[in-house]
Amino acid sequence: MKGLLVKDFRLLKGQSRFFGVIIVLAILFAFVFEPQFLFSYIGYMLSLFTISTISYDEYDNGYPFLFTLPITRKEYVLEKYLFALVMIIATVIISLSLYSGSMILKNVSLTSDMIYFIIANILTICMLVAIMLPLQLKFGSEKGRIAISVVIGIIIVLGIVFIKVAPKLHVDLTSLLNSIFSLNGIILMLGIAALAVIVIIISMMLSIKIMKAKEF
């Protein structure tokens, strides 16, 4: 597994220019525009790095050789999640540093709402990666992008359908949302965190199953 991590960090190093552009844009977000978006922006970009390592592995039929190295398919999958975790930790560190800098410079103090917003953002990124990874492993880099768009589209459509259908089922969405947001912030965060953990576990199980079934 260590070899795989080294491989992915080396591939990441090859993308250092792209990384530089992200940092510059992140600084602009932090000090010129809205610093709240830092977490989503950096988080999304670093998640894309994780997904892109799968494209690099696939490039020029690289998979067969990769699996002749002393690794198992399960280890390969777990390494991708570990790499994603490292990317998310990096997101938190970079975003927090820039965010704090921006707060000090603008002389703004941190409110609990802001903290909840940041945590919710990071957890959303975790869930997004958890949805993207199995799709990318299943469909590969070309079809994977389409699959990700389709799945996100389906989620949006389901949301719209739910909003339309809810009144007919005598579900009052406004009061439902009000009651969710009136929950204690910590409980709300714990709820989102629990949801993220469930999504990640299902995602990992799916990814392992997908990779074990693959023939190269």
Partner: protein, 278 residues
């Protein structure tokens, strides 16, 4: 070292059925035309495809990630991602293989003039092939599984690679190699034993000494054919001038039929006769 028993793999238009064994210290060649099933055997051995039936044992064990430490692999159409450099690969191998030999790896790279900081996707075909072989040779493997390791190389580079393989065998007498190649002369000068595969089945197995010393091609006219003892003829093929016949009893025909043309067999000729002959 490697034992494949009743390996079966079925595809819609192709099915493989194979038994194969490699002893310690042995170099075994696998030959056959394109699509005969060579790569399918390699992939099944390495767990890259699921087998339908059969058993594959390395060192009397099933393949595992621990066992892969002792196996060096070259695949014909797959290698490290082209976006990596040799320096990157060195770091990956160092973190993957317990017995990785950095000095040897760098020495081989230098010998074949491979740049350490250039992305592999920008390498020439020959450079890519050399790198694949170097990777397989640099982590103290006991068994090499090499699918077409000399494809795309010029004569001199091929000879260099074959020398490295001979050196690999000389360093430890218990090491083994399973190798496939389209270039029969590479195998003739290297292998101890040969398996021939056609349409997913092993159709021929012989030691290289026997193949080169005892096998022969008899070239006979129609009338010579009529008078010939055909008890030791394995395959025959009708030609413009008469018949070409494959035998394993070269000396018998040399002694008893001195008037006919008898040519020494080589791998290419034996493959042609075994596949196309009747």
């Amino acid at each position: 070292m490697l034992k494949i028993s009743n390996l079966q793999k079925k595809y819609p238009n192709f099915s493989l059925q194979c038994d194969l064994e490699i002893a310690p210290g042995e170099i075994v060649g696998l030959v056959g035309k394109n699509g005969a099933g060579k790569t399918t055997i390699f992939k099944a051995c390495l767990g890259l495809i699921n087998k339908d039936e059969g058993d594959i044992q390395f060192f009397d064990q099933q393949l595992s990630s621990k066992l892969k430490q002792d196996i060096g692999v070259v695949l014909a159409d797959s290698s490290f991602s082209g976006y990596l450099t040799i320096k990157d690969i060195l770091a990956i191998l160092q973190s993957s293989y317990q017995q990785f030999q950095q000095t040897k790896f760098l020495e081989y790279c230098q010998r074949f003039e491979l740049p350490l900081n250039k992305k592999i996707k920008d390498f020439s075909t020959g450079m890519k092939v050399k790198l694949k072989v170097i990777v397989a040779l640099s982590h103290g493997a006991k068994l090499l599984i090499l699918d077409e390791p000399t494809t795309g190389l010029d004569v001199l580079a091929r000879e260099d690679i074959l020398d490295l393989l001979r050196l690999f065998m000389m360093e430890d007498e218990n090491r083994s190699i399973l190798i496939s190649s389209h270039i029969a002369s590479d195998l003739e000068g290297l292998c101890d034993r040969l398996y021939m595969i056609d349409k997913g089945k092993i159709i021929f197995e012989e030691t290289m000494d026997t193949l080169l010393n005892d096998y022969a091609i008899l070239k006979v006219s129609e009338s010579q054919y009529a008078d010939l003892d055909k008890n030791y003829i394995l395959k025959q093929q009708h030609t413009d001038f008469g018949y070409e016949l494959l035998t394993k009893e070269k000396s018998y025909y040399l002694e008893n039929f001195p008037q006919i043309v008898i040519e020494k067999a080589n791998i290419d000729k034996v493959i042609t006769m075994m596949v196309k002959g009747e």
